[in-house]
């Protein structure tokens, strides 16, 4: 039977080291809502979301209470709206109507975010997909809880550079449209290469076409737990370091598996995956950068950071994969800047640059995340940053993403405050040299040679 020390260890992780379940995300297919009549489509979407998810918050809170573990967020992801609305939406304004419907449904069932205002355009855009992308600035400025994502490339298809160019403009327009809130709209907008169908984390969650009617995906967290475990093995060998991370990741993921199984049973919705990510928050002691420092770096960004992050990411996966019956989503270590106090400290100390972050994204689980840049950064430069990140994902057969915030009216040296889980961020300098002519070329970057696996 369980002994007092095991109980004490688990409760210490929860009470002192910020162990929590970051999100229970219900994926809902909207394919059966499709209609060529916009008002019918809106009604169908609202009703399907309400009927499917009306109990998610109550059940999530009950599970948290039963086991004594905080379940921070309850969320919804839906089928990419570009496709759902393709028969009914003739203009970008029609798509904005759908965004409002999603927002209303999210508020009705009281989830804090709903993801899936999305288009998957890794090879080319259909006219409705282009309409949705062009509607993103308005959609994110007139809604509170809607999150948007666009998949711009994949290892199998290459990179859609027309969409990359367009997204540079859209990110800037979204920043302009939400300038009164420090360009907050861009915090709810992410572009991907190799986007997973089952990601429970925002802003990039959508219910992919490979999924069933409904699914429960759970994202765990726990950077604080890993850091505390590493404090006890100061100066030990890499072997000990890796073993400690694996054991800790195993325990953290087991909590996610338990919560996912319970949520699935209580909501009568199939269990999908556990996303075993280390997702930091601005809370002290809940930082991925602090783990890197605990490994022996003065600051995140110092030489050795990429190696330390690679080690962390790989061992989180190795430890976590046995703890769950099905692992998916993004799974690994997130390295957002604004949501991680250690990252903010590193930027303020001059230890961490955008270029070093880009290198880190080669080995982390996602990409350039929650990075504030000057509001006067040209659209083409943003597209260039995106293209670089997409190329890393395409060539390395991994998910990469960009969630970058050009803060209108602010420049390097200033700080932007997003509040809550999104935190605050120092505005980082961007390379001033132009990539305009490169970005203005039309078409796509073809799939890499290692995509031909048939």
């Amino acid at each position: 039977m369980i002994n007092i020390f095991e109980v004490a260890e688990t409760n210490k992780m929860i009470e002192e080291e910020n162990l929590d379940v970051r999100t229970i995300t219900m994926g809902i297919s909207l394919m059966d809502c499709v209609s060529s009549d916009l008002s019918v489509l809106k009604k169908n979407i609202y009703e399907k979301i309400y009927e499917s998810a009306k109990d998610i918050v109550k059940v999530g809170d009950e599970i948290g209470h039963d086991f004594g573990i905080p379940i921070v967020n309850k969320r919804i992801s839906v089928t990419p709206i570009a496709t759902v609305g393709s028969a009914a939406c003739k203009t970008s304004s029609d798509y904005v109507e759908l965004a409002r419907t999603l927002d209303e449904a999210a508020k009705k069932v009281n989830v804090n975010f709903i993801g899936g205002y999305s288009a998957l355009v890794s090879k080319a855009m259909t006219p409705p997909e282009e309409l949705l992308i062009k509607s993103i600035p308005e959609a994110l400025s007139v809604t509170d809880r809607v999150c948007s994502s666009v998949n711009l490339g994949s290892t199998r298809c290459g990179i859609n550079m027309d969409a990359v160019r367009l997204m540079g403009e859209i990110i800037k327009k979204t920043a302009e449209a939400t300038r009164d809130n420090d360009s907050l709209g861009c915090a709810k907008l992410v572009v991907f290469c190799n986007a997973p169908d089952d990601n429970p984390f925002m802003a990039g969650a959508f219910h992919g076409f490979t999924e069933g009617d409904k699914v429960i995906n759970v994202g765990v967290s726990g950077p604080g737990v890993v850091k505390r475990a590493l404090e006890n093995i100061h100066g030990e060998s890499f072997e000990v370091l890796c073993e400690t991370i694996k054991k800790t990741a195993f325990k953290v993921t087991r909590v996610g598996q338990l919560v996912a199984k319970e949520a699935s049973e209580r909501l009568n919705v199939p269990f999908g995956i556990v996303d075993l990510s280390l997702a930091p928050t601005p809370a002290i002691g809940d930082s991925v950068a602090d783990i890197l420092c605990e490994m022996g770096l003065e600051y995140a960004g110092a030489p050795g950071t990429t190696a330390a992050l690679a080690l962390l990411n790989d061992n989180v996966k190795k430890g976590g994969v046995m703890a769950s019956s099905s692992v998916g989503g993004l799974s690994g270590a997130f390295i957002p800047v604004s949501e991680d106090q250690g990252m903010i400290n590193a930027v303020n100390a001059g230890a961490l640059s955008l270029e070093k972050l880009e290198a880190m994204t080669c080995v982390c689980s996602v990409g350039l995340d929650m990075i504030a840049i000057p509001g006067d950064t040209p659209d083409t430069t943003i597209s260039g940053i995106i293209a670089d990140e997409m190329a890393i994902g395409m060539i390395n057969q991994k998910t990469t993403a960009v969630r970058i915030i050009p803060v209108i009216g602010k420049g390097v040296g200033e700080t932007v405050e997003f509040g809550g889980l999104l935190g605050y961020a120092p505005i980082m300098p961007v390379n001033k040299f132009s990539c305009e002519e490169f970005i203005k070329r039309e078409g796509r970057i073809p799939a890499p040679v290692h995509s031909f696996k048939n």
């Binding site: 039977m1 369980i2 007092i4 260890e9 688990t10 409760n11 209470h65 039963d66 086991f67």
Partner: protein, 90 residues
Amino acid sequence: MKRAIITVVGKDTVGIIAKVCTYLADEKINILDISQTIVSGFFNMMMIVDITDITEGFGKLQDDLSRLGEGIGVNIKCQKEEIFEMMNRI
């Protein structure tokens, strides 16, 4: 059998175990295992209890125990056992 873990942490004082056990007896909850240590003057206790036959819901049990703890000046938590099993057993 459904089991829960009750943990009591706080400053040591007379009658902590007695009060918790009396409450559990009144509620007809059987204690399966009990262990206790004192760490630098702080009382640490863990009980494994059988909650198969509780009638008024697990939430009420949690709330009652929490309130009982407040009365004694200690922190009492009650959690379903699975979270500890999952984390510590393969």
